[in-house]
């Protein structure tokens, strides 16, 4: 395993330590669970093989490390989501532009929603 190209001293200091946990919850935030479940369900629906999935995920993780992410395990589902976005685009299921447009719609819906209310996406019918 090669260390990042330009090691930040703090990163180097972090590297040897393996983060530990006490069999706590497997997801840190709800979105991680959603991203996880989407990949599993798309695989079950035959949209891609698990080999294809594992390859894309490994690519994302490798690319993140090359960018200098110390990759302490807590960013794992970020890589998972990036891999999923890439794979659904490659498979022609959801394109990158379509995804960006929808993200912007959610963003403005969220901005216009008062705190405490469920965020709903309103579109012209």
């Amino acid at each position: 395993m090669t260390p990042p190209e330009r090691p930040d001293p703090r990163t180097l200091a972090d590297l040897p330590a393996i983060p530990r946990d006490d069999e706590g919850p497997v997801f840190r935030e709800p979105w991680e669970a959603q991203a996880f479940a989407m990949a599993v369900k798309l695989h079950e629906a035959g949209c891609f093989t698990w080999r294809e999935w594992a390859d894309r995920l490994a690519q994302e993780i490798r690319a993140a490390r090359e960018r200098g992410d110390p990759d302490p395990g807590t960013t794992y589902y970020r890589h998972w989501l990036a891999a999923l976005e890439r794979l659904v685009a490659e498979k022609g299921l959801v394109g990158g532009e379509e995804l960006a447009r929808r993200k912007a719609e959610w963003e403005s819906a969220a901005r216009e929603t008062p705190p405490g209310r469920p965020i709903e996406l309103r579109r012209e019918g």
Partner: protein, 220 residues
């Protein structure tokens, strides 16, 4: 038309009191999920059910039951070591990804340690989802280049004469360590034994500890 989407599903909704109510990743997940749902590729209820399964129903207990049975039933252990996929499926624990399972037996001379150097392939059906440290770069890289150092960090010092074998998981092949049955557990039931077996012992970063009562009796 308003688009239905799941709110929370019991993970504790996050409050967003200030100007940026949703993070970048939250927005990306919502965008992807709503598009996949509209295209009929995923069903939000099925997503929630899967999450519920992994959050509360699957966990290292399945693996602990496999190990405990192998400790008390020599015929099961023989089948487990010969064809783990089939023996584990026989207990009802079946992989969703069509992966094969291999069980690695720890002995007084050989200690097995499991890693996935590329991502974090992990035997979900028996251990649930991987802990943070298993997914971390330090573990993924150091387990291979310095396994004894990694084990020391986990508080496990192995004698020099014990051979450490490191196994790199893949999308198709997942490993489960069959730890050694600790002393002082003679006469314990399968269920009592299963309660002693930890997730880390089945990854290979720990040994199964004897029960406290058994330790006291051994000393006294």
């Amino acid at each position: 038309m308003s688009d239905q989407h799941p709110q929370g599903h019991g993970h504790g909704g996050t409050a967003h009191p200030h100007g940026a109510p949703l993070s970048d990743v939250q927005l990306r997940v919502k965008a992807l999920e709503s598009l996949l749902t509209e295209k009929g590729l995923v069903d939000p209820a099925a997503l929630d059910e899967l999450i519920e399964t992994y959050e509360s129903r699957v966990g290292p207990r399945n693996g602990a039951r496999v190990v405990a049975r192998a400790w008390v039933d020599p015929e099961f252990k023989r089948r487990l070591l010969a064809d783990a996929t089939e023996a584990i499926a026989g207990m009802g624990y079946i992989g969703r990804q069509g992966e094969d399972m291999v069980v690695l037996e720890n002995t007084p001379r050989v200690h097995n340690l499991v890693v996935c150097t590329l991502c974090s392939c992990y035997p979900w059906p028996v251990l649930g989802l991987p802990p943070v440290w298993y997914k971390s770069a330090p573990y993924r890289s150091r387990a291979v280049i310095d396994p004894r150092g990694v084990l020391r960090e986990f508080g496990l010092e192995l004698p020099e004469e014990v051979e450490v074998r490191v196994w790199d998981s893949t999308a198709e092949l997942r490993y489960l360590v069959l730890p050694e049955r600790p002393p002082g557990t003679e006469g314990m039931s399968e269920e009592e034994l299963a309660a002693l077996i930890t997730r880390d012992a089945m990854i290979g970063t720990a040994k199964v500890q004897p029960p406290a009562r058994a330790r006291r009796e051994a000393r006294g």
